[in-house]
């Protein structure tokens, strides 16, 4: 059930009733977090952008401004996008054109062909990390991890491929995830981040454009 379809809940939200707000918070938080993460809000800013979204959505102005006709989700996502921009700006992390601002981008998953150059670089780098980790595995672990993490099979399906029980697949997957992050750490990731590299590339390109090099 969505807020706009439940008269009592909607009126509670408009009034600022504590239980209605908590219900809104719990019901819509995961979706807001997904929207924010797709909008270039990085892991270190996600909590702040999420908090700011709901503080704004629960302000009296926002509560009274919601017409109850349009889907609340759309209303909330619009607030989330503005909150994301302000949080990133305040943290000095908003590069121009870094955020897709059109309405459609928030409605569903942003397809990879719409990645910004920074997103595309990050996506490629993350996949490369996972593949590098897989290359350290052998036999059934490699088969399972490839099926699960590269081919995107369910845990059960990937387990079935190598004859693991459901329980075994669950345990082994948890262990693989821990091992993958340990691998990441041991590889020494103090090197430049993808975003920093992209920014550097852009800066160098602008120097060329200005005839400075």
């Amino acid at each position: 059930m969505e807020l706009e379809n439940d008269r009592q809940w909607l009126e509670g939200y408009r009034r600022g009733d504590g239980r209605a707000l908590e219900h809104v918070y719990r019901h819509y938080s995961p979706r807001v977090l997904r929207v924010l993460a797709r909008q270039n809000v990085g892991p270190l800013d996600l909590d702040a952008a999420h908090q700011e979204t709901f503080i704004r959505a629960f302000s009296e102005t926002a509560r009274l401004h919601f017409d109850g006709l349009q889907p609340f989700e759309r209303y909330l996502f619009a607030i989330a996008r503005r909150a994301a921009i302000d949080v990133l700006r305040a943290h000095g992390k908003l590069h121009h054109e870094a955020l897709p601002l059109d309405e459609t981008a928030a409605a569903g998953q942003v397809p990879s062909e719409h990645d910004t150059p920074e997103q595309a670089a990050l996506r490629a780098e993350t996949v490369a990390t996972v593949r590098a980790f897989l290359s350290t595995l052998r036999d059934d672990e490699l088969q399972f991890a490839t099926a699960r993490f590269i081919d995107g099979l369910s845990q059960e399906q990937a387990g079935a491929r190598v004859g693991w029980s459901r329980q075994n697949a669950r345990t082994r997957e948890a262990r693989l995830k821990v091992a993958c992050l340990a691998f990441l750490r041991e590889r020494g990731w103090s090197t430049t981040t993808a975003a920093a590299r992209t920014a550097l590339t852009a800066a160098v390109l602008s120097l060329f454009a200005a005839g400075g090099v």
Partner: protein, 244 residues
């Protein structure tokens, strides 16, 4: 220093296994945001975990969804509750010169460090608060998206969890003449003390406030000026829109 004791490394297995509590994630994030070594590690770990779980580095992992919802619940719902009696800043208009002295006495005390995370500091470790006053108007604290009008004056308050910290403040932007100040931090997070600086807003545009906290004042100054900051330096940046 509390949060600097444990780098993010120790939290990676918990992150991968899932089921991290909101309180634990808050501490991990507080460290990652303040530690130059751990910030990129945390981001990469989360992107990689998301890739494993969801097939995309831009789809949050379950552990993030659960822990962030839990850690922000109290703060969000508390803020949404009807406000208590008007706070101390509803008093008489102040001249710019009197602002700092007045703020010493009237700065509202916030005891939950949670409340300060929204102010842009590495969660809970340091806090910077920005106030808009002067020009015959009451002093008010500026939240992230708030505006202060040209002709009015900015004032600041700072606090740090760790003792022996200095704060360097640089205020720049098209609305102000750039000013710098550095001084010891005398107050903890939650009971911030005014910084001895006021800045007049000369025209509309924006003012960028950069505060750097470090145990070494020279390190704080250079970080506030935008030079690369070393370990243990926390930088908070706020942009104030200046209207009219």
């Amino acid at each position: 220093m509390l949060f600097f004791d444990s780098h993010v490394d120790a939290a990676l297995p918990e992150l991968a296994r899932g089921g991290m509590s909101g309180r634990r994630l808050r501490r991990v994030l507080a460290h990652a945001k303040a530690c130059h070594r751990c910030a990129p590690l945390y981001q990469r770990a989360v992107h990689t975990l998301r890739q494993l779980e969801t097939g995309s580095p831009f789809e949050p992992a379950q552990v993030e969804l659960d822990a962030i919802v839990e850690m922000n619940a109290q703060e969000v719902l508390k803020k949404a509750a009807p406000p208590p009696a008007p706070r101390a800043w509803l008093w008489a208009p102040l001249a710019a010169g009197a602002l700092v002295a007045a703020a010493v006495f009237y700065l509202p005390r916030l005891h939950e460090s949670d409340a300060l995370e929204a102010r842009g500091g590495p969660a809970g470790l340091v806090a910077l608060r920005v106030f808009c006053g002067g020009a015959g108007q009451p002093l008010k604290e500026l939240r992230e998206a708030d505006e202060c009008e040209s002709g009015r004056t900015l004032a600041f308050a700072a606090g740090a969890v760790a003792e022996g910290q200095s704060v360097a403040l640089v205020v720049s932007g098209d609305a102000v003449v750039t000013v710098e100040v550095a001084e010891p931090v005398t107050a903890p997070v939650g009971a911030e003390a005014p910084v001895k600086l006021t800045v007049e807003l000369r025209r509309r545009g924006s003012a960028v406030v950069t505060a750097a906290f470090a145990s070494d004042v020279e390190q704080a100054k250079s970080a506030a000026r935008g030079l690369p900051a070393g370990d243990g330096v926390s930088v908070v940046r706020r942009t104030v829109r200046v209207g009219r």
